[in-house]
């Protein structure tokens, strides 16, 4: 622990101690943590770290381990946010999400963004509970929800929300939708079911052990005691069967009605058949009882289902992604021409609203005044903003970059474009091809075989010894009870899902592992997937003897105030800001450095200043921008989207696994060709609209190819949903993430190759498990049919086979050797965090 700390705080550290972002050269932000000065990347992180230290919560940095905190851009905007947060104090808005609004102690549920580990929960709880007026604040790590109750007379809700921002997180009020409430109820119920089955089966096993012990010792037990034990087992098993195992019977009945044979049918026959026959045996004091076998069986199966459910629920907050995309407030311009801050939900079509630079647009509309560039990356994934002028349409959820604009609202809420994308994909989702589970294939034969064998056994014994026929048949049903068989697949899938989650792939749909193992084609979106999705300066080409370092520094000084992606590319070289900066939309920026005017931007705009001829561009392939001053041009900068560091290795590994690789992109520029050449990808489909992308995937799938689509933007969503298996990047928009079948949470494409290897291994293990459990049944069945299996052997056999398949599945959680070597290299570069989420 100590050793790690010293390692991180070496003087030449290049990453922010708080959030792990790269520190721009020349900047100097420090915070004193645990008596050592730690470097910070920006004033935001510095302020957050200072708040944490001032609150005496600096042990947060020790607890969080390798998890890094979210980036803290919002802190700088805290001033303007405070105004917006004040909206949450108004009664009208609180009505929607605050409970006990009229009492002294209201409470609310919040969604917290930016939680990555248990230390975040500790920090949040400690910081907020210290605030005056807070009655209780507790954060749930699993679903990132917080429960807050406060004294309305002492503190305002907005103050507490601001406090959460001050330590680097974001909080939104949370309105649970119906589906989510049902989900929470269901999860509570399944925990209760599991507990009931656990307590009941242990008790039944205790009574059974006493009966068996007497039987095996041969001494026997007095009739009345045996009877007492039997009745007692019946009492403890009844809640297990009637309550905890109810879902199995319900599913079995549903499947029989749908004429679809599933594993639930033999499971139900065994559980309920065994239970009722044992009641019969108890009440009339004849034959054998199987209470402990059937309850144990129910318990094992419920454990399996519970693990599966938990793995599923980790996927997070599906329904509320839209909520976060649209801002909560808007600046409306009333009839007197004054600005007023209103809740975004109060907007009506026809309203005039003003959007300042850097703000998210709250509704669809048409520009009525001003011109600016709009960042539509949330919608399209492309990082270059589009210029928009009067009469152009803008979409809610996109971001205004350069100048203030006035809009006339055309569509709000349900009708707005982002909402219609949500609806579109709800429809597409329901059409997703159903991938049958392996176990269900087996189940079909299994049910038939069991029933036929049971009938044959009953008939045979009816002629040999009618008094034994029923009990032998029951033994056959219990012994062949497909416990191991129905655990074989889910345990392996759950183990693999859990392991992959730790390594950076979050699986959100059940079929992913199966389709991963069968995949033949893997299709990548370009921007943000193969590449970083942001501009970087690739090359500096100095003119007239300028030094490249000076050119970069001047460029950075001019771009200092720019929110434009080109401006962000210069951040690493920032030393000082230029004076009297003027911005010409779509052209460039002008500013004064040491009294000399400089311009950066398009060649014609820059050369206007010195009046000279435009110098020759170094090449035509890349996007070049020019820097110049009053006298002469100074340098060309080549801007391009960087290929992710690990992409090349990942593509090589995927090819080695025998997959065909394709690029599917909306981009038409020569950059696509160049990236494909660099990565050695042969099939490129460029300039594709979302419809064409979908059509391409459908063609491949119609040819019988098994496809995986990897993408990140909202415009990729239709194709993500249409593809058999879809993977989104961790830095993708929420909407894309919630609609992909899997999310690469560490943004590392190499994890994809690892996941495919893992999926193949999982498939092998499932096959082994199915083989093992079938082998058990094949051995046990003849013995049971011959009447050689007493109930305690049945119970042991059933348990042993279940544990065997579970143990086999657990092999998937072991770390492969190559991962360990990766870990050894890893600690120095914690760069793969979800920046921006």
């Amino acid at each position: 622990m100590e050793a790690v700390e010293t390692l991180v705080s070496t003087p030449e550290e290049t990453q922010c101690y708080h959030c792990g972002s790269d520190i721009p050269p020349g900047s100097s932000f420090y915070t004193r943590i645990n008596n050592e000065d730690k470097r910070m990347c920006c004033p935001g992180c510095q302020a957050v770290a200072q708040t944490i230290v001032a609150g005496g919560l600096d042990s947060f940095y020790r607890h969080r381990g390798n998890d890094l905190s979210p980036t803290t851009t919002d802190l700088i905007e805290l001033e303007s946010l405070t105004k917006e947060l004040a909206l949450y104090d108004s009664r009208e808005i609180q009505q929607d999400f605050v409970h006990n609004l009229d009492t002294e102690q209201p409470s609310a549920t919040l969604v917290i963004e930016g939680i990555s580990c248990a230390a975040c929960v500790w920090l949040l709880e400690n910081h907020i509970n210290k605030q005056p007026g807070v009655v209780k604040f507790s954060v749930n790590l699993t679903n990132h929800r917080a429960q807050l109750s406060w004294q309305s007379s002492e503190v305002k809700l907005s103050t507490l929300l601001a406090e959460i921002i001050r330590i680097g997180y974001k909080a939104h009020p949370y309105h649970p939708d119906k589906e989510e409430q049902l989900l929470a109820k269901e999860s509570k119920r399944s925990i209760i079911r599991l507990g009931v089955a656990g307590i009941g089966s242990m008790q039944a096993m205790m009574f059974a052990a006493a009966i068996y012990a007497a039987e095996i010792a041969g001494t026997g037990m007095d009739e009345k005691y045996v009877l007492l034990m039997r009745w007692a087992s019946m009492v403890v098993s009844t809640p297990v069967i009637l309550y905890a195992s109810w879902p199995f019977l319900k599913n079995a009945i549903r499947d029989i009605k749908a004429r679809h044979l599933t594993m639930d049918i033999p499971v139900s026959i065994a559980i309920w058949g065994g239970y009722f026959a044992s009641i019969w045996a108890t009440v009339f004091n004849t034959g054998e009882i199987y209470f402990e076998s059937v309850t144990m069986f129910a318990f094992f199966l419920l454990i399996g289902r519970f693990m599966e459910m938990k793995a599923r629920q980790r996927t997070g907050r599906a329904g509320n992604a839209l909520l976060n995309l649209i801002p909560a407030s808007a600046l409306r311009i009333n009839e007197q021409g004054e600005e007023e801050l209103v809740s975004a939900t109060a907007l009506q079509p026809g309203d005039r609203i003003r959007i300042k630079p850097g703000q998210t647009i709250p509704a669809d509309g048409v520009i009525v005044r001003g011109f600016s560039s709009i960042d539509e990356s949330a919608l399209t994934g492309e990082y270059m903003p589009l210029s928009k002028k009067v009469d152009d349409k803008v979409v809610g959820g996109t971001i205004n970059i350069e100048n203030p604009i006035d809009l006339e609202v055309t569509e709000v809420g349900e009708k707005s474009r982002i909402s219609s994308i949500v609806r579109l994909l709800e429809r597409a989702q329901s059409e997703k091809p159903y991938v049958a589970r392996v176990a269900d294939h087996v189940a079909r034969y299994f049910v038939g075989a069991t029933l036929i064998v049971a009938t044959c056994v009953f008939t045979a014994w009816y002629f040999i010894d009618p008094s034994k026929a029923f009990w032998v048949t029951l033994a056959v049903l219990v012994v062949t009870c497909p416990c191991a068989l129905s655990l074989a697949t889910p345990t392996a899938l759950t183990a693999a899902t859990g392991t992959l989650r730790q390594r950076g792939l979050l699986i959100t749909r059940g079929h992913v592992l199966e389709s991963f193992s069968k995949a033949t084609h893997i299709i990548f979106d370009k921007t943000g997937t193969l590449t970083e999705g942001r501009l970087a300066i690739q090359e500096t080409y100095p003119l007239n003897g300028t030094s490249p370092a000076d050119a970069l520094m001047w460029g950075a000084a001019l771009e200092a105030l720019s929110e434009h992606p080109i401006g962000r590319a210069f951040i690493p070289w920032y030393c000082f800001s230029a004076e009297s900066i003027e911005n010409s939309v779509g052209m460039g920026i002008q500013g004064e450095i040491n009294g000399v005017r400089y311009r950066i931007g398009t060649p014609s705009y820059v050369m206007e200043l010195s009046g000279q001829a435009i110098p020759e561009m170094p090449d035509q392939q890349r996007q070049w921008i020019l820097l110049g001053n009053e006298k002469s041009p100074l340098a060309w900068f080549a801007l391009d989207d960087q290929i992710r560091r690990e992409t090349r290795q990942a593509i090589r590994e995927l090819k080695a696994l025998g997959l065909s690789i394709e690029i599917l992109t909306g981009d038409t520029s020569p950059a696509v060709q160049r990236i494909a050449e660099k990565l050695d990808i042969d099939v490129i489909n460029s300039g594709m609209s979302p419809e064409q992308k979908l059509a391409r995937i459908e063609t491949l799938q119609a040819e019988g190819k098994q496809t995986i689509m990897v993408g990140d933007g909202i415009n990729d969503i239709p194709v993500l949903v249409g593809a058999q298996t879809s993977v989104s990047m961790g830095a993708a928009t929420d909407l894309a993430k919630t609609n992909a079948d899997a999310v690469l949470t560490n943004n590392n494409l190499q994890t994809l190759a690892e996941s495919i290897r893992m999926a193949r291994k999982t498939r092998t293990i499932i096959k082994e498990n199915l083989g093992l459990s079938l082998a058990y049944n094949v051995i046990a069945l003849p013995a049971a049919a011959m009447g050689l299996v007493p109930p305690y052997i049945a119970a042991i056999g059933m348990t042993a086979s279940s544990l065997l398949v579970t143990g086999n599945a657990m092999r998937l959680t072991r770390k492969p050797r190559e991962l360990k070597t990766n870990l050894a290299e890893a600690p120095k570069k914690p760069a793969n965090i979800n920046a921006g989420t």
Binding site: A3, A118, T142, M229, V235, V236
Partner: protein
């Protein structure tokens, strides 16, 4: 062996109590978050409660490790 006649009903009553306690704990939200409580025990926020003479200088530990 007669004692069993009393013990078994007692066992059943205790089982009933266990069921009740379990229902109560689930319904009062104790099983809502199964992830973070596992970590919370590791957070030593009791530093101000440790007497000064019992504190070990961190730098010493570092040297010992190196």
């Amino acid at each position: 062996m007669e004692i069993v006649i009393i013990l078994i009903p007692i066992a059943l009553i205790l089982t009933g109590l266990a069921f009740w306690a379990f229902f109560w704990s689930v319904n009062s939200g104790q099983f809502d978050d199964l992830d973070s409580p596992a970590h919370s025990i590791l957070y030593d926020d009791d530093e101000d409660m440790i007497p000064d003479d019992a504190k070990v200088d961190k730098k010493d530990i570092k040297h010992n490790h190196d």
